[in-house]
């Protein structure tokens, strides 16, 4: 019986190496599903907007719903100024959401269950929002780390804490997504293992649990994409408004 962790194994499809740097940039199953996620999310938006209907059909309503959902999230959490960065947030949301959702398909690879992927995304968010903060406020952005209203004597203690908590943001952001996706998929695989091992006689029991878990995983896929995006919006808010 295969290990429930085998689904996370990365298998190169096209081996690409950069000998000068000693880098292995192989196109893997993970890369393949990233590509599929890109194709699906872009295809969905394009298919949904093809009609350009004044009164949207089902597909267009779905796409508009996604747009309004993310736009509302940005507006409410990052403010009107945050709408400048809406394309980034929308791309992030769609990419993570499709990564999560496609991963539920049996046999698919879930690239959001890899810490390096979520961490790279989170670092991108971290660097991006920090850059926005410095871009808008210049060096005044550093006052973000000075809690307003705190007694001056406490500042030597508070400022390092603030900086530390700020730097922990990408870590918590990436680990949350990674752990959620990995745990769900591991659990699914374990129950699949039960179902196979128990055969026809008792196999229905873990199988029904798998069905329920699948529904649960769909919720988690949405929820985690939502959380990832909304936290990005909040970080953006901090960068734009400084508290």
């Amino acid at each position: 019986m295969a290990s429930p962790l085998e689904q996370f194994a990365i298998e190169p499809i096209v081996r690409i190496t950069v000998p000068d740097l000693g880098l292995d940039l192989s196109f893997t199953n993970s890369s393949l599903w990233m590509g599929i996620a890109v194709a699906c999310s872009y295809g969905l938006v394009m298919a949904g907007t093809r009609q350009r209907a004044l009164v949207p059909g089902r597909l267009q309503a779905l796409v508009e719903l996604a747009y309004e959902f993310v736009a509302g999230m940005v507006r409410e959490n990052a403010g009107r100024e945050g709408m400048r960065y809406f394309p980034w947030i929308f791309t992030l949301f769609m990419f993570v959401l499709f990564g999560n959702l496609l991963g539920i398909i049996p046999g698919a690879f879930t690239f959001t269950s890899h810490i390096i992927v979520t961490f790279t995304l989170a670092i991108g968010v971290f660097l991006g929002t920090t850059a926005v903060g410095f871009y808008i406020h210049g060096l005044r952005f550093l006052t973000f780390f000075v809690p307003s209203g705190a007694p001056k004597i406490m500042l030597p203690l508070l400022v390092p804490i603030e900086i530390l908590s700020y730097c922990f943001r990408p870590i918590s952001l990436s680990i949350r997504l990674f752990v959620n996706m990995m745990a769900g998929h591991t659990m699914l695989k374990i129950f699949v293992g039960f179902a196979v091992a128990l055969g026809i006689l008792f196999g229905w029991l873990p199988f029904s649990i798998i069905v329920a878990l699948n529904g649960f995983e769909i919720v988690v896929a949405f929820l985690q994409a939502y959380i990832f995006t909304i936290l990005t919006c909040l970080y953006l808010h901090d960068a734009i408004h400084l508290h």
Binding site: E6, F27, V38, S41, G193
Partner: protein, 196 residues
């Protein structure tokens, strides 16, 4: 009891499965996620695909989507504008209609009053005219009656004088002139009696 046995049977089957599942497979060394071999490839392709998706979205999909949404927003706003404009026009038309109705009512009332006045005036004029004509006729008739009476009286005097003359010549054999006869009649009439 039988149920408990059933559960126990399930457990007996499950336990080895759980054990085998929890145990990592032979060739795997811990979590594949923490194996740094593929980190460069993962980061590289993630950046590539994320950038690709961003580029695709910003270049084509999102402008199209915002265009559709803005178009709808504009359309709705335009429709609302038009609706409010039509409503305003309708209200204006109604006000105009009311005003016209009021004016017409006023004019009708005025015309009625004028007609009544004219009728009253004409009636009064005609009544006065009729009165005047009637009075004139009455006066004429009275004058005629008076004339007739005078003439009748005069003629009666003449006749009486002739009768007096004739009677005097026949009865008394006296020849009197018509002047004397007339004087005698006049005296008799003035005397108030029938006897001279």
């Amino acid at each position: 009891m039988r149920r408990t046995h059933g559960y126990l049977a399930v457990l007996a089957v499950l336990l080895p499965v759980v054990a085998s599942a929890a145990e990592p497979g032979g060739e795997s060394r811990g979590l594949p996620q923490f194996d740094p071999t593929h980190f460069p490839s993962q980061i590289f392709w993630l950046v590539v695909f994320f950038a690709l998706l961003y580029w695709l979205f910003t270049r084509k999909a999102l402008p199209r989507l915002t265009e559709i949404l803005e178009e709808r927003q504009d359309r709705i706003a335009a429709d609302l504008d038009r609706a409010s404009q039509l409503r305003r026009e309708a209200e204006e038309a109604y006000a105009r209609y009311e005003r016209m109705l009021d004016e017409a009512r006023g004019r009708a009332h005025e015309a009625l009053v004028r007609a009544q006045e004219r009728i009253a005036r004409e009636t009064a004029e005609r009544t006065a005219e009729l009165e005047r004509v009637t009075q004139a006729r009455i006066r004429e008739a009275e004058a005629e009656i008076a004339r007739f009476r005078d003439r009748a009286l005069t003629e009666l005097g003449e006749v009486a004088a002739e009768i007096v003359q004739a009677a005097t010549s026949r009865l008394a054999g006296l020849e009197i002139t018509p002047e004397e006869a007339r004087a005698a009649v006049a005296r008799a009439v003035e005397g108030g009696g029938s006897r001279p």
